[in-house]
Symmetry: C2
Subunit: 467 residues, 2 copies
């Protein structure tokens, strides 16, 4: 809609609309997109004809009405992702969604060529979720300034926090859209502490924070692949109290008509993921085997979004091996949760995937793709963590007793193993070398207490099925 | 002394002596050694002339007196090991003792040839402590019966628990003596649960248990290299309550005039190592980095006597790699405690070092020897765990800030690292490849915040010293 351009429309003009169809009525916030243009984006969840009527404190934008028909979605559109069966996720149409995430914190703040290269890389990578920041980042290996900023302001970084920069948000939206076209969920990080006194976006004050959240959610909520991550390492943001985080959660939830997923990521201290507005636990932890415990504690899906990164930089979370990263994925997925990837190899031009995107150099993504195929092949009812029989109880295992076991031996390397499965059944066994990416059926069938010969090397999994 | 042979001297005759020198007066229990022979073994702690007088409920053995001169010990005799400086150990003469233990649970229950082979192996191994059981063991890979039993009884295992078998104990003593001659402490395990209903030594009842403890301690306490481990995996011994363990501790402490070291080893649940009769925590745990916490909790030396074994058997604690075993040693020692070794490789004749001794087949012992040299070279005042500067805080490190750091990077493999040491000093750095067993001095000197290039591989330690 066209509306007033004079004054400060970001501050002065309220604009929203109510969308209706049959019994459904949804209030949707709008936003000022500059040049006298006001927009409202709506993501209907029902087919058929919808009507709308705008609301505003400005007469030009008030009581505008209209109708449109919501047609069937394209074949690749399953809607936004929601929590499903307590610990899992599914798209709105019921199709299971299994997150295999990666992290490129500020990939949208780079030169166009590099951003396109990131998308090119993602095309053939196994990842279907991207953790990414709204704000730019100042940190080791992150010394470049972005072309666009979210607020009006000078190059000397004197920001007018009362005026947003629509170009910045349009660029962000384009990149969220690019991810959507690749089937990738955008896990959007709303605040982060890595500003290093460069821009001050980590210390704007709660008035500005809330205004920013309302503007961002008004612009982005209608993108079906959006998730809201309140923060990266919330506990490192000294200027924000637990009360502030509560306000932030309420602002996001209150301003997003579609109830997109909401999480908050920690450094040392977990947020209380029992908070009713937190939809799933987004965790930083080096040992994803604890997922089994956290599930009980939170009764929500557990996503270890950060378990250290494959790489060789000096920072303590940035130099695990390709084997260890692969191991942490197997540990986490077979503990009944989800794990995210990141990569931090030294690079002559400081282009590290973890932050800027670009190309992948590590060896874990191929193994993660291999795991993904295996996980996606598990019938849904077997995707729960079970205790593997007594002497293996510390090994992560998905399945159902007597029917299906996918168990991971990790760093342990037995050359022989006596089974202790449910009696009175016959089993077939496949030996999975998670590093070499091979699946080898063992000959014959096995009893519940058969002795199985194993290769005596690390990173082996077994898929055992009742025949 | 000669005494009565008739009746049951084990039950009927009390026999002890009081040893005196100047102000010192020590009551020492004696024991019946069969064939009418009664013995008292005494380990004096002062040079010079001692007198004694026996006590007994039998007139022949009562009020016998004598004198002898305690002469200076041989050069290799530093006396028994005691706790020193809260978290450490030293021999009675003050010489530091740093335990590098191993485990051959029932090596003294094998054929003579195998027992001698074990001793031969130990001669060139780095180990100076041996965990070993008094009772034989029935378990996977432990199906042979010993030649000797601690009680009188038939081959059908109907034991006369009122009569000990002196031959059994003489054999045990010979082996403790053999270890002493190799400079190895005998960490003697008094009870264990691996009987599997074969002999019933795990379920004798507390009357027999106490009598056995009094007999064993009377025989063995005068051996300077004896430590008392109340149990292996005390929490798996269903027939013994916490009250029983308290009685066991009191019986051992009350019957050992020399106050040898006392511990109790767990399976899943730690014993309360704050118990005043426990001298040090003997721990089973897979991650020795927790030593740092346990030291604060118990204020005693922490010995992770079992951290899993290098090997390839199917039991979950018996198949870590040689690299992982080496890593756990470095983790534990640089966390300010001690770690024990064990080895469980499949063997055609079921001779696994962990239980029967024999030969070592693994690759960790050489690396443990390499670590031992490094640890023994650390000046005593630097043998405490310190926090390595902020970003490395999870890396185990011994030393003193600004003076000496021995830090272990474990599975992490940075290719570059910015130091963050005490300012205003110059440092020299040695790069230790704990797997290849090389120590490479880096050229030049470094400032507190220098950037150091590292090989980008796992299992590296740095020795950093103020110059």
């Amino acid at each position: 809609m066209k509306g007033p351009e004079e004054g400060n429309p970001f501050m002065d003009v309220d604009f929203s609309a109510t969308f209706k169809r049959n019994e459904s009525s949804i209030d949707v916030p709008g936003f000022y997109d500059g040049s006298g243009i006001y927009k409202i984006r709506f993501m209907p969840s029902e087919l058929g004809v919808w009507s709308y009527e705008t609301n505003s404190n400005c007469s030009e934008l008030k009581a505008l009405t209209g109708k449109f028909e919501c047609i069937a979605p394209s074949a690749s559109n399953h809607g936004p992702v929601k929590v499903s069966d307590t610990y899992h996720f599914a798209y709105a149409d019921g199709t299971p969604y299994i997150p295999f995430g990666t992290t490129c914190y500020v990939w949208t703040h780079q030169e166009d060529e590099l951003e396109e290269l990131t998308l090119q890389t993602l095309k053939s990578a196994p990842f279907n979720k991207m953790r990414m920041c709204v704000f730019p980042k100042r940190y080791l290996y992150n010394n470049n300034d972005p072309a666009l900023y979210p607020f009006d302001g000078s190059k000397e970084e004197v920001w007018d926090f009362t005026r947003f920069n629509p170009d910045f948000f349009r660029h962000l939206e384009k990149r969220v859209d690019d991810l959507r076209n690749l089937g990738i969920e955008a896990d959007i990080i709303l605040f982060h502490p890595y500003d290093n006194a460069r821009w001050g976006f980590d210390k704007m004050g709660m008035d500005v924070n809330v205004r920013y959240l309302r503007y961002l959610t008004a612009r982005l909520s209608a993108y079906r692949n959006v998730w809201w991550s309140m923060a990266n390492e919330y506990d490192l943001m000294e200027n924000l109290s637990l009360e502030d985080w509560d306000t932030i959660l309420k602002t996001v939830a209150g301003n997003d008509p579609y109830d997109h997923l909401r999480s908050i990521h920690n450094c040392r201290q977990f947020y209380d993921h029992n908070h009713p507005l937190i939809t799933h636990a987004s965790v930083q932890h080096h040992d994803p085997r604890y997922i089994f415990e956290w599930k009980t504690q939170y009764n929500k899906p557990i996503v270890v979004d950060e378990c250290s990164y494959e790489g060789n930089i000096g920072l303590m979370w940035g130099n695990i091996t390709e084997q260890e990263m692969t191991r942490r994925f197997w540990d986490g997925f077979l503990s009944g949760g989800y794990v995210g990837h990141g990569e931090t190899y030294l690079h002559p031009d400081e282009i590290l995937w973890w932050s800027k995107g670009g190309e992948l150099h590590g060896k874990s993504p191929d193994r993660i793709a291999f795991l993904k195929d295996i996980i996606e092949s598990i019938p849904g009812e077997y995707r729960e963590r079970i205790s593997f029989p007594p002497q293996w109880e510390y090994f992560p295992c998905l399945g159902k007793e007597g029917e299906y076991y996918l168990v991971y031996l990790g760093i342990y390397r037995p050359a022989v193993k006596q089974l202790d499965l449910m009696e009175g059944k016959k089993y077939k066994i496949e030996l999975i070398d998670t590093w070499e990416m091979t699946i080898t059926p063992l000959e014959g069938t096995y009893d519940h207490n058969s002795i199985v010969e194993l290769p005596g090397k690390q990173y082996i999994a077994l898929r055992i099925q009742n025949v």
